[in-house]
Every structure is written in C-alpha cells, then in structure tokens.
C-alpha cells in the first residue's frame, strides 16, 4: 500500500514532522516493497492553504493513507475528499516506528479534524 508521511529530513530513517501542511518533507512509501521517495513539501512556503497544497500533492501521488502528527481542517477536508485515510503519529518519533505501528494497526485513525471548527486555516501548525 502506498502511504505518505511527514518528516523533518528527506530519508527513510527520519524523525517524524508533527505538522502536515507545514512539514519539511513528504515521504511516499510503498509498505509492501518499502520502496520510498522523499519530496520537499510544496506547501511549506505557501502564505496560506499549505495543508491544501500538501493534500493535493498526496492525491497526485495516488497514496491511500497519510500519517502525520496533526491535520488542519483544510487538509482534513481535502484528504477526505480525495479518499485518503488519515492516521496520527501519537507517540512515534521516527518514520520507521510510525510505519511499523501503522502496519500493526496501532495508530489512531482520524475521523474529525484535529483543531477547532473555524475555517480560517493555519490550524495544522504545531502549537
């Protein structure tokens, strides 16, 4: 299964990045073959709509699942519309750990956006 993860550096052993829209790197990983690619997050420098841009990127990569620390309301709506399931890292601090826990069904799946119910963006940022 093709999944996307947020990471602070462009490698498979990276630390997890708790933010979705404003993460440093997006890792696209095939969980069967463990083939992976790292991409600089196109949303990182956006003045607004970072979560949407990152979600658009995820959809263009045809991933089925996104793993991150947090998803803002815009990212949540976009990923939801794209049929991409969202899971929180919880206490995972590294990408290998997160993949392992995901495979073992130990990560929490998200049904509602992580922050607030107002719609002005900037919610996926780590506080």
């Amino acid at each position: 299964m093709k999944i996307i993860l947020t990471a602070v550096s462009p490698n498979i052993d990276a630390q997890t990045d708790p933010r979705f829209g404003r993460c440093a790197y997006l890792l696209v990983v095939d969980t069967e073959t463990m083939h992976w690619e790292a991409h600089a997050n196109p949303g990182l420098t956006a003045s607004g709509g970072a979560g949407i841009e990152a979600a658009q990127f995820a959809a263009n990569q045809h991933v089925k699942v996104a793993l991150s620390g947090d998803f803002g309301p815009h990212a949540y709506n976009a990923l939801q519309a794209g049929g991409i399931a969202m899971y929180r890292y919880g206490n995972c601090t590294t990408v290998p750990q997160a993949i392992e826990q995901f495979k073992n069904n130990q990560l929490e799946q998200i049904g509602v956006p992580s922050r607030g119910d107002c719609d002005d963006g900037h919610h996926g940022q780590s506080s």
């Binding site: 949303g43 956006a46 607004g48 709509g49 970072a50 949407i52 841009e53 979600a55 658009q56 959809a59 263009n60 815009h74 709506n77 976009a78 990923l79 519309a81 794209g82 049929g83 991409i84 107002c118 719609d119 002005d120 963006g121």
Partner: protein, 282 residues
C-alpha cells in the same frame, strides 16, 4: 486632496488624529471633508463622529463554482490558483471560499469552461452624514472573514467625494495588504507614533512603506512626555517633518475614552490640526 492617517503600531492614536483633523477641516473649510474608516476589521471612528447611516451596500468577491458533472478533473484550476483555494482530488474538485481572492484565474484557464463565478459576501459598506456635516463612509468586514482588502478597495470606489472635497482616510494598523490598499492613491500620509522604542520600531516600517509607494509623509507624535532623541533623529534622517506633538495628558485620555475629539478637549487643537492641512496642501 486625499490624506491618509496610518501608524505601523496599533493604538498610537490614528483614529483620534483622523477624526480630530476631519473636524478641524469641517470647522475651517466651506465643504466638510469626506471621512473614510478603512479599518474594516475593527472600524471605530463612528464612536467619535456619530454618523447617521443612510446607505449601505453588500460587498462580496466572485468565487468559482464548478459544474461537477462536466468537470474532467484535469486539475488546471488547482494548478493556476496562487492561493490554494481549489484542490482536485481524484473525482472531486473542492473550493475553499475563504482562501479565494476572486482573481478569476481558474475560470479563465478551465479548458472545459465548467467554472462559473458566484458572489460570496464578505462584508458591507455604509455611508451617511456625521458630526459637523462630515460625509462619512466605512467598510465592515464580516466576523471570521480573513480578507479586508476587497472591502477597502470597494469602499474607496463607492464613497464618492464632491469636487474639491478633502478626503481623510483612517487606516488599519500595521504595514500589510489592508494598509497598502488604504494608503494607495493618497496625496499625503500622516504617520502617528508615540515616543517609545515600540512606536519608533513600527514607525520605521511604516516610513519604509510610504517611501516604497512614493507618497509624501509627516509624523504626529502622540503622548509626548519628555524628549526621545532617537525618534527626532530618525525623522530628521528620513526627511519626515514633525507635524504636531500631543502631550501625554490625563484630560486627553479621559476625553478620548468618552468619545470626545481633541477639539472638544482642547479647542486650541483646531487651529493646530488645520495648520497640518494647510502645510500639506502648500
């Protein structure tokens, strides 16, 4: 003649100066000026000028609506949107109205021509006559809406001045887009500051903005309670004339807190404020 009152730092006394300047002009000129409250996120000049509103207009921006049945999900709209207000996710095209700036790029670029534009209300404009016969207009941004600029832009167009009528614009604080939109097209900018490191820091930013826009500017120092040489030096270096100094005085604070203008508190201010205008108009 269009004079804009701006500041950089918030709470320096923009509205106090703007409303008092307008009242001094109303007292001295045949035609009272037109006052525009451009601080659309938190307009408050009405507290000092007590307008009676007789006209109002809804303001919106045109946002895209997509005919999902005819959409081919090619993604062109999402690609051209600079504000990430559209995402195309598989067989779904999502519009995020609050990120949309109404630029129309998606509509223009859609190869299938399946985007139509619909009005999305973000606030309103109001106008009427205020104290001393002032023409008064303001914009009010709806609570929760993030973008004030379209309201300010429409307010400037909507509130027509009479031939020869002076226009006073009260700006929002800061130096970002709403301030730039307020200031744009002005003949002169009055920068209100206070003699504190914070006031000076933000005055530097505001002065930089006036220089980039190529608009003449001068400074009003509010709450003066002793010398602050750094501020004087900065104004001298940047050729900013100091138009007026207002003392740090309890009676002024008490008066403005009750919605009084500087003219109500100290009638001398009428002549001093009017001379700001005559100096600018020279």
């Amino acid at each position: 003649m269009i004079i804009t009152i701006a500041s950089g730092k918030g709470g320096t006394g923009k509205t106090t100066i703007a409303t008092s300047l307008a009242l001094s002009l109303a007292a001295e000129l045949n035609t009272p000026p037109l006052f525009l409250d451009c601080d659309v996120e938190a307009p408050n000049a009405h507290l000092f000028l007590q307008p009676v509103f007789t006209q109002e207009k809804q303001v919106g921006i045109m946002i895209p609506e997509i005919d999902e049945e005819r959409c081919s999900y090619c993604g062109k709209c999402a690609e051209v949107c600079q504000y990430h207000a559209i995402a195309v996710l598989g067989k779904k095209t999502l519009v995020f109205p609050q990120l949309c700036h109404g630029c129309g790029s998606c509509t223009a670029q859609c190869p299938e021509h399946v985007i139509v534009e619909v009005q999305n209300s973000i606030g309103m404009l109001e106008s009427g006559i205020a104290r001393a016969g002032l023409s008064f207009a303001r914009g009010v941004l709806n609570v929760g809406e993030p973008m004030g600029v379209p309201i300010i832009r429409q307010l400037k167009k909507w509130a027509d001045s009479l031939p020869g009528q002076v226009v006073i614009r009260d700006s929002p604080p800061g130096t970002s887009c709403p301030v730039v939109e307020t200031v744009r097209g002005s003949d002169y900018i009055v920068l209100v500051t206070e003699p504190t490191p914070f006031g000076l820091h933000d005055l530097r930013l505001a002065a930089q903005l006036t220089e980039e826009l190529g608009i003449r500017a001068g400074v009003v120092i509010n709450r003066v309670n002793g010398p602050y040489p750094e501020l004087e030096m900065f104004c001298a270096e940047r050729n900013l004339s100091i138009l007026l100094r207002i003392p740090f005085e309890r009676t002024i604070a008490e008066g403005t807190a009750r919605g009084k203008s500087l003219l109500d508190i100290h009638p001398d201010f009428c002549q001093q404020l009017f001379s700001i205008f005559t100096n600018i108009a020279k």
